[in-house]
C-alpha cells in the first residue's frame, strides 16, 4: 500500500511502513544509515533537523520512526535570523 506524506509542503508517495530514514534516502538526503552515500549535492546529515507532525524527532530516532499516511515532515536547515 502507498501512503502520502508531506515534506516541506510537497507531497511524496512512500511504501506503507517506511521509516523516516528510508524516506530521506528516497529523497536523496543523507541519513545516519548512509553517511557515505555517493550521491552528490544533497543535504548532509548534519545540515538539517526534523519535526514530524510538529514534534521534534532527534536524529538518533530516524531509523525507528515509522511514517503514516498524511504525516507532515518539516525538514529545516540553518538560516539567517534576527
Amino acid at each position: 500500500m502507498i501512503i502520502s506524506i508531506n515534506i516541506n509542503g510537497i507531497s511524496h508517495d512512500l511504501e506503507e511502513g517506511s521509516t523516516l530514514s528510508q524516506a530521506l534516502d528516497i529523497l536523496n538526503i543523507n541519513t545516519i544509515n548512509n553517511p557515505n552515500s555517493d550521491v552528490k549535492d544533497k543535504l548532509k546529515f548534519t545540515d538539517f533537523v526534523i519535526a514530524l507532525n510538529q514534534v521534534f524527532i532527534p536524529r538518533s530516532q530516524y531509523p525507528q520512526t515509522r511514517l503514516h499516511n498524511n504525516d507532515t515532515v518539516e525538514l529545516l536547515s540553518p538560516m539567517a535570523g534576527g
Binding site: 516541506n8 519535526a51 521534534f56 525538514l75 536547515s77 540553518p78 539567517a80 534576527g82
Partner: protein, 267 residues
C-alpha cells in the same frame, strides 16, 4: 584598565561576554558583508534561525558557512512561531542543529506589529526551562509579564524597545526604566526597535545590560561602519552608566564659579 573594567562582563546564565552587543545575521547585502559587519561589531553572540531550505536559493548554506567560521556563540531564535508548542518544537530542533541550550524565545501574538504573545511566551518559557534550555525571551516592556518570565525561571529578559524593524528606539522609557529599577539582579537586553546608535546608547545609560539588533546594521548604507558605530555607542553608554549620570534639574545652574566674577562692580 581598572579592575572594575576588566570584570564588567555581560552575564547570560553561566556564560560571560566582553561585548554587550548581540547582532542578528539577517538582511545583509551579502553573506560576506554580514561576516565583516559581525566582526566589526565585536559581538560575541549572534542570532540565527531554522527554515525550510530553498533549493533555488543556497544563501542559507553560505550564511551558515560564514557563521561557522566565526568565533561567536550562537543564539538561535524561534522567529515566526505563533504558539508555545511551535516555539518548543523549534527550540528542540535548534538545540540539535546548533548544539546549544541557548534559545531566543520569540512567540508572535500580532502579525501587524510583531508584538510578542505574553501568554504563550510564558507558557513556552516554563516548559523550555524545565527541558534545560537557557531561555532569552523576547517580550514587551510590561512589568508583570517580566515578573512572570522570571518566575518561570528565565535569568535574562529581552524587552522590546519598539516593534521589530521599526527603528523607533525606546518607545516607552518609563516602562523600561521601571523594569530596570525593579529587576536589578537580572540581565536585561533591549531587543528590537533600535534604529540608531544614540538609541542604543540611551538604553545602556539607563542601565540595560546589552543590546540585540539586526536591521539597523544590516540595512545601513555601510553595515560594517554602522556595526562599529553601534559597538562604540553600546560601550559608551555602559561606561556612562557605570560612571553615574548627574541628576537633571529644572533650572539652570552655572558651571563656572560665580565667586570672583570679573566686572562685577561695573554694573
Amino acid at each position: 584598565m581598572t579592575q572594575s573594567e576588566t570584570t564588567d562582563n555581560l552575564k547570560l546564565y553561566d556564560r560571560e561576554f566582553n561585548s554587550r552587543l548581540l547582532v542578528g545575521t539577517a538582511l545583509y547585502p551579502s553573506p560576506l558583508i554580514m561576516a565583516q559587519a559581525i566582526k566589526a561589531s565585536g559581538s560575541e553572540m549572534i542570532t540565527l534561525s531554522l527554515r525550510r531550505q530553498d533549493p533555488e536559493n543556497n544563501q542559507g548554506q553560505t550564511i551558515w558557512q560564514h557563521i561557522q567560521q566565526s568565533d561567536c556563540s550562537l543564539l538561535p531564535n524561534t522567529a515566526g512561531c505563533h504558539s508555545a508548542q511551535e516555539a518548543i518544537t523549534l527550540a528542540q530542533m535548534s538545540r540539535e542543529m546548533f548544539n546549544t541550550d541557548f534559545i531566543k524565545l520569540e512567540v508572535i501574538g500580532d502579525d501587524y506589529n510583531l508584538q510578542p504573545d505574553p501568554f504563550e511566551t510564558v507558557k513556552a518559557a516554563e516548559i523550555l526551562i524545565k527541558k534545560g534550555f537557557k531561555v532569552l525571551p523576547y517580550c514587551t516592556d510590561d512589568l508583570v509579564l517580566c515578573q512572570r518570565l522570571l518566575d518561570a525561571g528565565c535569568q535574562v529578559l529581552m524587552p522590546w524597545g519598539s516593534p521589530i524593524g521599526t527603528g523607533k528606539g525606546l518607545m516607552n522609557p518609563y516602562n523600561l526604566q521601571t523594569i530596570r529599577d525593579r529587576f536589578t539582579a537580572t540581565s536585561l537586553i533591549i531587543d528590537a526597535g533600535i534604529g540608531k546608535p544614540s538609541q542604543a546608547m540611551a538604553a545602556m545609560e539607563m542601565g540595560f545590560d546589552g543590546i540585540l539588533l539586526n536591521t539597523a546594521i544590516a540595512k545601513a548604507h555601510n553595515p560594517i561602519q554602522m556595526a562599529q558605530a553601534f559597538a562604540q555607542a553600546v560601550n559608551g553608554g555602559r561606561q556612562a552608566y557605570l560612571a553615574g549620570l548627574m541628576e537633571s534639574r529644572q533650572t539652570a545652574s552655572p558651571s563656572t564659579p560665580t565667586l570672583g566674577t570679573p566686572f562685577w562692580q561695573q554694573q
